[in-house]
């Protein structure tokens, strides 16, 4: 018997650690029901961010939600953060078991 999974979208945001509180407040406001954050470092168009100190640290935020909400969040990030912050975002299709949760 296969499990009754349902499709959702996984939105991943990689950005500067310094915006964590502001960004999480934005997510709350946009109606996201949950998120997961982990610490990261990296390189991109804004140079090397090696997490040696807070200024140069990245975070990696994951949000599981319905596709329309993911797109709304993306639109907000594009308007509010893309121009001025080191930020990369991407969407992936995933399957979850408890669709009412996300």
């Amino acid at each position: 018997m296969t499990l009754p999974t349902e499709k959702r979208t996984l939105l991943t945001i990689i950005t500067e650690a310094i915006v964590e509180p502001t960004l999480l407040r934005d997510l709350d406001r946009l109606g996201v029901r949950g998120y997961t954050v982990s610490d990261a470092r990296g390189r991109g168009s804004r140079g090397v961010r090696d997490a040696a100190w807070d200024e140069a640290a990245n975070i990696r935020i994951e949000v599981i939600c319905p596709r329309p909400l993911a797109e709304e969040v993306l639109r907000h990030l594009q308007a509010r953060y893309y121009a001025n912050y080191a930020m990369v975002t991407f969407l992936a299709e995933i399957e979850v078991l408890r669709p009412e949760k996300f």
Binding site: E16, I18, V19, T22, G47, A51, A52, W53, D54, E55, A57, Y81, A83, N84, Y85
Partner: protein
């Protein structure tokens, strides 16, 4: 004639290792822990000093450093806009760095005075906290103008409840409530190890400063000139303010150092959120890559020399 302080040697070591691209790296948690320690220790020291004296003379002093900080920020802003042709955001953010203070620089100056047995007024740590708070507010106002929808609550939270200010003020409150005797049991950690911890911290600072070199090369001569000239001007303003307040030679030296120093922790974090269009690499290259090393290597002894002359106690 006197040998270099070991804390300075640690800084130079970190700087050299970084420039040679050594694999040396301190764990981020250690760096953070050391900075918590230094902020608390400075607060405690200041607070225990305050416990033994009346608080009334503090009021004019606080007023004076508010003016001092605001003046520095404005001067910096004008110079960066006119001579440096910085954008409004970049000028405001960078000026806020220089209107604020660097706790590490202050700690080095405290250690420098301590090694020479030169006393200073305990309230210097309060003035440190005040200048840190103020510059954040002024910087944001400069960049934004004061519009109707300024979120003053969020701003105040940012300024007063940031990590650094919380630790400084908390340490001061504890030191003040406990007094020198009350602090005796925690002296072994917070006071006796102060210089050793500062040395380790400066090792990491050296590594961080070494990473600013690339940006400095990219930005060219103006940023270097500003990074050297601004602290000199600020130190003079600080000395002037200190004379008006009738500070001791130690106090004059510290106030000059505070004025000359530029923030690289609290202000960058606040500006990144409040003035996101400013490029943080510029302000950091100036504050960390030029002004910080200048102050700890050359500035502090220089400001002390000037303080002695102004106080008429040149040796």
């Amino acid at each position: 004639m006197t040998a270099l302080d070991p804390v300075i040697l640690f800084f130079l070591f970190g700087l050299t290792a970084g420039l040679l691209r050594s694999e040396l790296k301190l764990p981020a948690a250690l760096y953070e822990s050391l900075s918590v320690f230094l902020l608390l220790a400075i607060g405690l020291k200041g607070g225990q000093g305050l416990a033994t004296q009346p608080l009334a003379p503090l009021i004019p002093q606080i007023g004076a450093v508010i003016l001092l900080g605001a003046a520095q920020t404005l001067i910096g802003f004008v110079v960066l806009r006119s001579m440096g042709r910085f954008s409004r955001a970049d000028a405001a953010a960078t000026a806020a760095h220089y209107g604020s203070v660097s706790v590490a620089t202050f700690a080095v100056a405290v250690a420098w005075l301590g090694a020479r047995h030169i006393d200073f007024e305990p309230q210097m740590s309060i003035l440190l906290a005040i200048m840190e708070i103020l510059a954040i507010l002024v910087g944001i106002v400069l960049a934004r103008g004061v519009s109707r929808d300024t979120d003053w609550r969020a701003l105040g939270h940012e300024a007063f409840l940031g990590k650094g200010v919380t630790l400084l003020l908390g340490g001061m409150a504890i030191g003040w409530a406990a007094g020198p005797e009350g602090l005796a049991p925690v002296k072994g950690l917070f006071f006796d190890l102060f210089k050793g911890v500062l040395a380790l911290f400066l090792l990491e600072m050296g590594l961080i400063v070494s990473r600013q070199v690339g940006e400095l090369k990219r930005r060219g001569i103006f940023l270097i000139a500003f990074g050297l000239g601004m602290p000199l001007l600020s130190a003079l303003l600080g000395l002037g303010t200190g004379l008006l307040l009738d500070l001791s030679v130690g106090g004059l030296t510290l106030l000059a150092t505070l004025a000359a120093s530029a923030s690289y922790i609290a202000v960058p974090a606040a500006m990144r959120i409040a003035v996101p269009e400013a490029n943080p690499a510029i302000s950091l290259a100036g504050a960390l890559g030029v002004t910080f090393p200048f102050n700890i290597l050359v500035g502090i002894p220089l400001y002390h020399g000037l303080a002695m002359q102004l106080a008429g106690t040149a040796p």
